[in-house]
Symmetry: C2
Subunit: 282 residues, 2 copies
């Protein structure tokens, strides 16, 4: 649970209290001085859908249930109408099993795909892209004051990133408020955990903004679109295909948000410039 007392709107924050997420390792610095360094953990987690093993993800290890649920949703292997009957996490096996009431369409899909390519990597990729063509996100106003407030706020929230580095964060926001902040070694995992949290809590997507510390690559845009979140914001940069997919799905895509600067490469007509930058240092 969050230790960030001053961010009272936050529902779930970085897992600072869980010391199993970091390790202390003895090392040597540029002067030859030996001391202890704290580094982030990285562990394999196998995700099963019913009896089918889907993927092994490398993760820091917190919220395995949300990660599994969000991954399966974002890959379109679980539909919104699928009834989850149980989610079991086995700490010894480092495996999480998501069970549904009925057989999902994945079991059939996999059989078919194995005959054609024999490779589930392609299958997973294909499933993800397949779903995005139907996505048409609603038009939502985005105030520039929200962006500046969120950016400042998220940079100040105590996180594993600030403590040990080498990880990414994804934050589910509403207007200028950070609600759920997840971290992981991969930016994809962090966003999958948010998706899992949203699916589990039946959180509405249309009024939300997703903030990520990672780059706006195609996979991030596809995940955000599959989650139904109409605004994706990052402090990092873009890829051309990411921008194309954002335009296709009607997503507002804002990158390079640092200080009072940003670049909007999709949906700029929804921006409301409610901050006078002349009064601020740029």
């Amino acid at each position: 649970m969050s230790k960030n007392k001053n961010h009272t709107d936050m529902i779930l924050g970085p897992n600072l209290g869980d010391r199993s997420l970091v390790s202390t390792i003895s090392g040597q610095d540029q002067k030859g001085k030996i001391s202890d360094f704290t580094v982030i953990e990285e562990r394999p987690l196998s995700i099963f859908l019913n009896s089918q093993e889907i993927v092994t993800a490398m993760t820091i290890g917190d919220y395995p249930e949300y990660l599994a649920l969000g991954f399966l949703r974002n890959q379109n292997l679980l539909k919104s109408e699928d009834q989850i009957t149980r989610i079991d996490y086995d700490d010894d096996l480092k495996a999480v099993i998501v069970r549904t009431e009925n057989e999902t369409n994945y079991e059939q899909k996999l059989k078919r795909k194995i005959r054609t390519s024999g490779c589930a990597v392609g299958t997973v990729f294909g499933d993800m892209m397949e779903s995005i063509e139907e996505v048409n996100l609603p038009i939502c106003e985005v105030r520039t004051s929200w962006l500046y407030t969120l950016s400042r706020q998220i940079n100040q929230i105590k996180s594993l990133y600030l403590e040990v580095g080498a990880i990414h964060g994804t934050v589910l926001c509403k207007e200028d408020k950070a609600l759920v902040y997840m971290e992981d070694v991969g930016r994809h995992n962090a966003v999958d955990k948010i998706a899992g949290w949203m699916f589990h809590n039946k959180s509405e997507a249309v009024d939300k903004i997703l903030y990520t510390t990672g780059r706006l690559t195609s996979e991030m845009i596809v995940k955000c679109a599959n989650m139904g979140v109409p605004v994706l914001v990052s402090r990092s940069g873009f890829t051309a295909w990411g921008v194309e997919l954002a335009k296709t799905t009607n997503m507002t895509l804002i990158g390079r948000l640092r200080g009072n600067r940003f670049t909007c490469l999709s949906g700029a007509d929804r921006l409301v410039y409610d901050v006078d930058l002349k009064e601020k240092n740029d």
Copy 2:
């Protein structure tokens, strides 16, 4: 080919001349000003080994042959003794096919794995980890002067990263010289391209240093170990499992190299401190 005339030791450098690797997109900044922004391309590339589709990678698109060759080598799907008869790249299909004289062990492996898990993601992961247990890298001296020279040099080499950002770089080095500099949207692709170049050119690994802009996660250490390169250096941080794998394989692992600072978490006894830091600004 490299446009970096002042780095005369460099054999192959960032592909600045190839304008198909970037795209110009109209966007809007924090002041509402509309202008053109240059962003990196991102395209799917399907990698085949003989008749078997192995993976679809997201890549900027240069050196598809090196990427395919390096990926297959680093995943242990191609052995050093496998004879490559042909590599075909099809620009329309965005596919590269690596052909070997004899059937590789992958065809058999895949059949077996499908029966157990049905998922090639796990297979690919398993193959990669399987090979690392046998790796025992040779002990190589690393002078701190090399690290400082490499860091300064690599930061100054003209690159797509300096031009458009949002990509990673991997540089094959020898002592204090950068030899081959590859870039890609994923740090894994950049290192796979280096591996492909090394395999194709029969480049010796034991006297090399690999520099990456990306984090030192388990997958990066496994790839470097499979390549036989005994020293891995990054400007970014570590994960605990990455450090553990570096120790297991006898790799010298240096992270957070910025200015005159660095952290060594494996193989520090091979460092030769030949720079007096008192004479330098820290």
